[in-house]
Symmetry: C2
Subunit: 465 residues, 2 copies
């Protein structure tokens, strides 16, 4: 076991290939690091510049003033090997090879990559890449990526991705959201996974106090026999969500093409993940949605779901999805039904799902939310609450935050998810409930998937099918 | 068979319960119809008003000047029966009962609803509802709904929904999108389906020249033996997509609660839909995404998909999804590979998926799109094209519309879908390609589902599993 802290949380960085030309990867990456406000020294390395963006440049990393934890290598392919030799000579602790064109391009590239691996291992240089967009540590404000992230949100989620550009593009999209973002403290993209791998990362994340939830995008596992038992131990405290494509033989071939990953039998892999307590996501949306459940919601005490719906149709669809995912419909207590019944006419049947649309006309839009949620969240027979709310103009009201804040404060231990359907008010509601620990999902299916993962991880649940 | 044109495309409407109070359903609905710009006469009916929003009110529909095709009934429950009797006496052709509190509330409500059914059938009054948000016909600008739709887009899709408020809320959300909306000419929501049903609607849609694609949200089928053979005939020309919840026993019970629907065996239902050429959607997103494929894309000539990707990881995920849905990966011709190879370095392997990320650096972002799409769209071995493009700043370029417009013009017969991942440029790209007949999906899975439906309907494909 080795400590990858210098890679994930460096105290100082160098950028080999830094330039003032922000059309080039080296220029973009350097600017992103400077603009991001990295807490430690930032050293541009460029033999043809004396300074870059106001920082004194060194011709070689060996000439840089002061010790360097992490060196980014952003050079044409031909210069990478020499740069790594220089990093080792300069006693840098870690390197991130941005440059592409190695293992992902075929046998010749894999041979060159293997030679680099021998080199960095011999020199004890912790290395990620080649073919990566870099690494982000929001806690020390290291935006070490050639994709800019103007609105990154920090938090307890730590991500590890075995991919080139994809993780970056997905994060750009995610962090551009107005609300419901994940708080991601660390995100490292190992690209072709030349050296540092999921096992190293898991050791780090297990010890890292700031990490509460772990997300892994894997194209292969380097050493399943070491990785899985460790993952099983870590996952008891810190849920681990895995996205691993190549489920089909054709996908596995494409994966082998992409990162040189060795195909594995997918059914076997599923069973292994399951046995070791890892949650497997279906796709990127499911991956982010499941991480959100773990990051936003308290641990449930059971799997009985209380449904509150503004739409009978959505209620039916949600029942289908919840039952398919192995969750149960709660049986509401008499008290709950009496309380919820106060905002609907006598003729309205009361049950689970609790249909509250008519309450908007009868009691007003605020009471149509406040009264049934208060009743259902307080019902001892309810372990999780899913609200399917419609937000056309007549359902809107100004005190959305106040209502949900107070519901959360009175019932902090019950996980609460919403599916919101409607026009512009929908976005405002999402914005209003930001930070209250309420997870919003686009569809009943997405919510059901996330709630299944949450309960399964809490050990309450029938095994994931 | 009866003609429901007076209901779906009325020449004149009345609103029984119209008022100037836009806090009430009757006031909102009347205002929506007036603001929507309905082409024919609009008659407010209200015994306590002489005019509503500047239109002369009549105390009773029997007193309204001129013939009435469609009367909306927006009254408290106690007044509904008398209003329908008046509609029949006034020789109105159709009625839309907005009022809720009938079949959906239990045995007593079902009995009352059955009595209303006898009444309207005896009076030959084509009736939808009770418990509906109304009906929209964008072609004659009838916004007959108590949910306002300021930005409804018209087109060849016709929708039928057996639900109360849900269809409206889903449409509010859909029509609030900045791009990639469906063009929906007619949308009728039959609520509890007292009278006019899916069979009537299908007869109408089959004959309606403006209808090219049909979407049905059903909680039950009134007469499967009549409906399914007709659907099979209609679907040959006009694809029919069905969303039918209640897949699980618990969901079926919830559905029975919601609209009084009679539970059906879901596996049997699936098989029936399949045998009769109907595409069944999984959920609302899948429903809208599949309708979009039919509305936006030409009929494919085969099922060989050419993949162009900005991300190896997305390519792998897309291969998984496409193969799972029964589609094939195309084998690119030598010419295609030579052409696409011009924008990537020699070391880049060429295949399907075609990875074009590096082309951005080498040939610029415009050529990185234009060159590979031109090659793949023109390849005779490719039947459908799916592009998985990343849109961080370095991938962006101003001539997005120009490039895709010209690609579409040169290759109009090849269905083209995109999945866009990235920050703000993503939204601008979606906006730029608006109207070009390019379907954008949020994930490879959503795209694969839609392409499967498209090829299956074209009769090319292995049966839907």
């Amino acid at each position: 076991m080795r400590d990858i802290t210098p890679l994930v949380a460096p105290r100082s960085v160098a950028v080999i290939g830094a330039s003032a030309n922000t059309e080039k990867s080296g220029g973009i990456l350097f600017k992103n690091i400077v603009d991001g406000g990295f807490a430690g020294p930032i050293h541009p390395i460029n033999p043809r510049a004396t300074e870059v963006l106001g920082r004194k440049a060194s011709p070689n990393i060996k000439d840089a003033p002061g010790p360097i934890d992490l060196a980014f290598v952003v050079l044409p392919k031909a210069g990478v090997r020499a740069a790594l030799i220089d990093c080792i000579a300069a006693r840098a602790r870690a390197a991130c090879i941005i440059t592409a064109g190695f293992g992902e391009i075929g046998p010749e590239g894999r041979r060159e990559q293997d030679e680099l691996r021998e080199l960095v291992r011999a020199g004890q240089l912790l290395t990620i890449g080649p073919n990566t967009i870099g690494t982000v540590n929001a806690e020390c404000k290291l935006m070490g990526s050639f994709v800019p992230f103007p609105s990154w949100q920090s938090g307890g989620v730590s991500l590890f991705a075995q991919t080139g550009i994809f993780a970056g593009a997905a994060m750009v999209q995610h962090m551009a959201q107005d609300s419901q973002r994940l708080g991601i403290g660390k995100s490292i993209d190992v690209g072709n996974k030349i050296d540092v791998d999921e096992l190293d990362f898991l050791h780090f994340a297990a010890e890292d106090a700031a990490t509460t939830v772990i997300g892994l995008y894997l194209e292969d596992m380097r050493d399943p026999d070491a990785f899985l038992p460790l993952a099983a131990r870590v996952a008891r405290d810190k849920p681990i969500v895995v996205l691993k494509p190549g489920r089909t033989p054709a996908g596995a071939v494409a994966s082998a093409y992409h990162t040189g990953a060795v195909p594995m039998d997918d059914g076997e892999l599923d069973a292994m993940f399951h046995r070791h307590g890892l949650v497997r996501a279906d796709d990127v949306d499911d991956f982010l949605g499941t991480l959100k459940a773990f990051a936003y919601l308290p641990r449930p005490r059971g799997r009985r779901v209380g449904l509150i719906t503004g739409s009978g149709a959505l209620g039916v669809m949600a029942v289908d999805e919840l039952v398919t995912e192995g969750l149960e419909l709660a049986r509401f207590s008499g008290e709950t039904l009496v309380a919820a019944g106060k905002v609907v006419p006598d003729w309205q049947p009361l049950g689970n799902p609790l249909d509250t649309w008519i309450a908007i006309d009868m009691a007003g839009p605020r009471a149509a939310v406040e009264v049934p949620f208060e009743a259902v969240l307080g019902d001892p027979g309810v372990d999780l609450v899913l609200g399917l709310l419609l937000t056309p103009p007549n359902a809107d009201f100004p005190e959305v935050r106040e209502v949900f804040e107070s519901l959360r404060a009175r019932h902090p231990d019950v996980p609460l998810c919403l599916v919101l359907t409607g026009g512009t008010a929908r976005l405002r509601w999402m914005h209003d409930i930001e930070g209250l620990g309420i997870a919003v999902y686009p569809t009943p299916r997405a919510a059901a998937r996330a709630l299944r993962a949450l309960t399964w991880h809490a050990g309450i649940h029938a095994p994931i099918a």
